[in-house]
């Protein structure tokens, strides 16, 4: 989201850049410090839901001051959410997500607030910039999935998912956690399981 600092070409914004983020991580705090209890509650639910729906361990998520306009980063098993955004109110988040849904920019789900979190957790789980053997192996299958999905017309997803494989992965993962299941979400889930992302 905020551009992924150093995420490489085409990564418009996700967490993780565990291998590429060059900015700082300062003033790390527990999520309980979030300014809006409603956003805190939604975040906690999103963490549990993402793990349950995708069959992955719960992420250790914290707040931090991050450089630039990144929404968050994932590194060494932890996810840091940028206070610049996550100290906004749930109402502001809701308004922004609605605009993104109404314009067709993002994939509609039944949990708009959780959408932001799940999108970021997906970037933390896998991005094309990841260099581990596991990430590279998963990347081959995710890349194939992105191409097949693109060729199919990408119906049922927001436009931004088409921009590159990282945004596709973040959106198909989000839909798998909170949206209507389809053949792409099913394949995404199997990739999470196969590679233990």
């Amino acid at each position: 989201m905020g551009g992924r600092a150093g995420g490489g070409a085409g990564m418009g914004g996700g967490l993780n850049r565990d291998t590429t983020y060059k900015g700082s991580i300062k003033n790390v705090e527990s999520l309980i410090k979030m300014k809006d209890p409603a956003l805190y509650k939604a975040t906690k639910e999103a963490i549990s839901n993402f793990a349950a729906k995708l069959g992955v361990p719960e992420r250790n998520v914290k707040l931090a001051d991050l450089s630039g306009n990144v929404m968050g980063i994932g590194t060494k098993g932890e996810v840091y959410l940028n206070k610049k955004y996550f100290n906004k109110s749930a109402k502001e988040f809701g308004k922004t997500i609605k605009q993104n849904y109404d314009s067709g920019h993002l994939t509609k789900t039944n949990k708009p607030l959780a959408h932001v979190l799940n999108h970021e957790f997906a970037h933390a789980a896998w991005q094309s910039s990841h260099t581990t053997a596991k990430a590279k192996a998963a990347g081959k299958e995710i890349s194939k999935l992105y191409k097949s999905w693109s060729k199919s017309g990408g119906k049922g997803y927001g436009k931004y998912a088409k921009s590159n494989v990282d945004e596709f992965w973040a959106e198909v993962s989000t839909k798998a956690a909170h949206g209507k299941a389809d053949k792409w979400t099913k394949q995404a889930k199997s990739i999470y399981k196969k590679f233990k992302l």
Binding site: G10, V116, Y146, S163, A170
Partner: protein, 72 residues
């Protein structure tokens, strides 16, 4: 294939997107409209050329590379 035309605003947003400087959720409304418009055009050209083998992992980059190639 018709010549790809891009405005200065479109080029600026494409470069921002490729540099990872666009915030997926909180980008400016005009930036969102521009990048989504570029994605629409890129997708249409990809389908017209049936060039999915060239897609690699980035539709926007593919489209921008096509634009730059014709400008050379």
């Amino acid at each position: 294939m018709a010549k790809i035309e891009l405005t200065q605003d479109e080029i600026a947003v494409i470069e921002k997107q490729l540099n990872g400087e666009l915030n997926t959720f909180f980008m400016e409304e005009n930036e969102r409209e521009i990048i989504d418009g570029v994605i629409d055009k890129a997708e249409a050209l990809m389908a017209e050329l049936n060039a999915y083998d060239e897609l690699e992992d980035n539709l926007v980059k593919w489209y921008y590379d096509k634009y730059k190639a014709q400008a050379d």
